[in-house]
Amino acid sequence: MDVKRKVGTLLVAGATVAGLAIVSISSTAGASSVNWSKVTHLTARGPTSMKALVAAAKKEGKLNVIALPRNWANYGQILDGFAKKYHIKINSANPEGSSGQEVTALQVDKGRSTAPDVIDVGTNYAITAQSDGLLTPYKVSTWKEIPASLKQSGGYWFDDYGGFVAIGCNSAAVTCPTSFADLAAKATKGTKYTIGLNNSPTTAAAALAGVIAAAVANGGSLDNVAPGVTYFANLNKAGTFFPGTASAATVENNSTNIVIWWDYLQASNLSNVLGSWKVIIPTDAAVGEFYTQAIAKAAPDPAAARLWEEYLYSTTGQNLWLKGEARPVELAYMQAHGTANKAWVAKLPGVPNGVTLQYPTVTQLTNAATYVDANWAAMVGAG
């Protein structure tokens, strides 16, 4: 009896010591006790370090992204690069989706294991999503390299890449213009020009930016988009405006020989189907916009989501966007510190000398959108 009790006590003691040891070991490893959906930034060491993040993300094993076309700013290589480096499977839903659909998916898919972990949207959508309580704050390790005007101070959203409105042209079919004014002068009634936007400015950010750029070039400004609408109305009257969606298909079957679109999208969608396709930034307007990243509050894979953001804002990720001929948000810092890939920087469509770079604010965009929404059909269209 005594022996049994002694053995019993020893066993209990041993188990307690072992248990404590296991607990302390696992707490230093940190993997199971950190709630990654509450982590707002990484620490150099400890349970919220980069090493811990990678381990946790691998444990989650997957990442849900949405509305990332493979040929949009080189997302194809970025997705592959991430998956290969960390052996995490990426589920890419609805690649041609819109910013609106991304935010809707955040609301509507809450609780689904296929709900988006991260979003890449127009800035005004990120702002709405934040005020709807759909986002969670997170500051990447390179937070300081992002210009202050291109991020939300609390970390709820942060810009990722952007570009300028460019005029693309099939040089084999028509003479290429150098500016909006030049284009209007050339594309008169009876000429072979067919000018297209990628989708309607009432629904697509790139097209709206195209109208804003036309406004800037024609006596308007970021606050006055009316001359832009008039510009396209005149083109339509001259019969040189293509009201459908200009794309690789319409370029290939020659329905459009001029396309006004983001410079980086022209590079990845149009220049590769037609050797004679030239992309220039107009000399009378350089209007640019950045897209915005954010992490979902209800992300099913919070660690993978944060690892993804770290990857995007690392030199590797930013350079891959640069390879897609987009301008990554940390480009200025990278150029100053020599970490930007010089060859890819050289390939960016040049901004003409003497043109002011203009970046519409969210307010200016919303006002322009409201005006265009109310007037586009009446002024440009038949009805």
């Binding site: 609106g100 067919t194 629904t203 293509f242 009201p243 929404d373 007037n375 586009w376």
Partner: protein, 312 residues
């Protein structure tokens, strides 16, 4: 049979809730029992329709009256009944009318031509083609039409070669009538699907009998053909109206917003990249569409009744 024969002499068959178990079932008890069977049998159907049609419609109406934060408001309704949205409704109705009356009439002629052909295989092929084409639309339809009739399209180029330029005469598939021309592609097959069986109901014997009595073709159609076909033709046009009114992807791909059309506007609010946080305006637009369609169905009912009276 089961619910018809209630055993009224069975003391166990007293109605639920009755205190005194009377041997004879009262009339309302009989009616209740007779009603239970059919109600049960139709329940799956009504439940399904309620879940699939009723609930979404109720949700839509509810959201049309709320703002982004969920508070009740009529500002959405006020917004969509003015300005470019009102224009959108007008354009959509007009486009739907053009795209239902013209294909409606043309569909009858085409269906008649097909129906009276001798080739069985031909008829079969055309009927299955109608089924497939009635569901073909959207961006692919727009693309093949742009390839054929766009400014650089195949047909346009051919016509230019013989010095006929439709575009210089104001034609364009990016206008109203151009879009209606494209809509014909799925509206016509839909009408054919609807009207062919009605044509089959026109027995050839009637035609022979009319001819034997000395009636001309015109009189046959006026007194026999048209009255028999009229309900189906009107019904078909109603379906075509709804189909054209609701068409979204095709119109979006062709016009991209230069013609204000309600489905496209709804798409901009719900699926766009430009204005965030205003989905409720989209829902209000949807409510407007439902109202218009309800009015159309009522008008259809009235016209049907008037037409059948006129044709007596």
């Amino acid at each position: 049979m089961d619910n018809e024969t209630t055993d009224v002499t069975d003391p166990g068959a007293s109605a639920p809730g009755s205190v005194t178990s009377s041997p004879v079932a009262k009339p309302w008890q009989k009616r209740l029992r007779r009603g239970v069977g059919p109600t049960l049998a139709m329940t799956p159907f009504f439940v399904y329709v309620f879940l699939g049609l009723g609930i979404p419609t109720i949700a839509l109406i509810n959201l049309a009256f709320r703002n982004h934060q969920g508070k009740l408001t009529t500002s959405n309704i006020h917004l969509v009944t003015h300005g470019v949205f009102l224009t959108g409704f007008e354009n959509s109705i007009r486009l739907a009318l053009i795209s239902s009356i013209i294909p409606g009439v043309l569909g009858v002629f085409l269906a008649y031509a097909v129906h009276t052909s001798r080739s069985n295989i031909g008829r079969r092929l055309i009927t299955t083609a109608s089924g497939v084409l009635a569901n073909f639309g959207g961006i692919n339809l727009a693309f093949i039409f742009i390839s054929a009739l766009g400014a650089q399209g195949l047909l346009t180029v051919w016509l230019n070669a013989i010095h006929v330029n439709p575009y210089s005469h104001g034609f364009s598939i990016y206008t109203y009538y151009g879009v209606a021309t494209v809509y014909l592609y799925f509206q016509l097959p839909l009408m054919m699907l609807v009207i062919t069986p009605a044509l089959a109901g026109l027995r050839p014997s009637w035609r022979e009998a009319a001819a034997n009595m000395g009636a001309s073709s015109w009189r046959y159609w006026r007194h026999v053909g048209v009255p028999v076909l009229m309900p189906s033709v009107l019904g078909g046009m109603l379906l075509l109206f709804g189909s054209a009114f609701a068409a979204y992807a095709t119109a979006a791909a062709l016009t991209g917003g230069i013609i204000a059309l309600t489905p496209i506007q709804i798409g901009n609010f719900l699926n766009g990249n430009v204005i965030a946080g205003q989905e409720n305006v989209g829902y209000a637009l949807g409510l407007g569409m439902l109202v218009i369609l309800a009015v159309t169905m009522i008008l259809y009912g009235l016209v049907r009744r008037r037409a059948s009276r006129w044709l007596q």
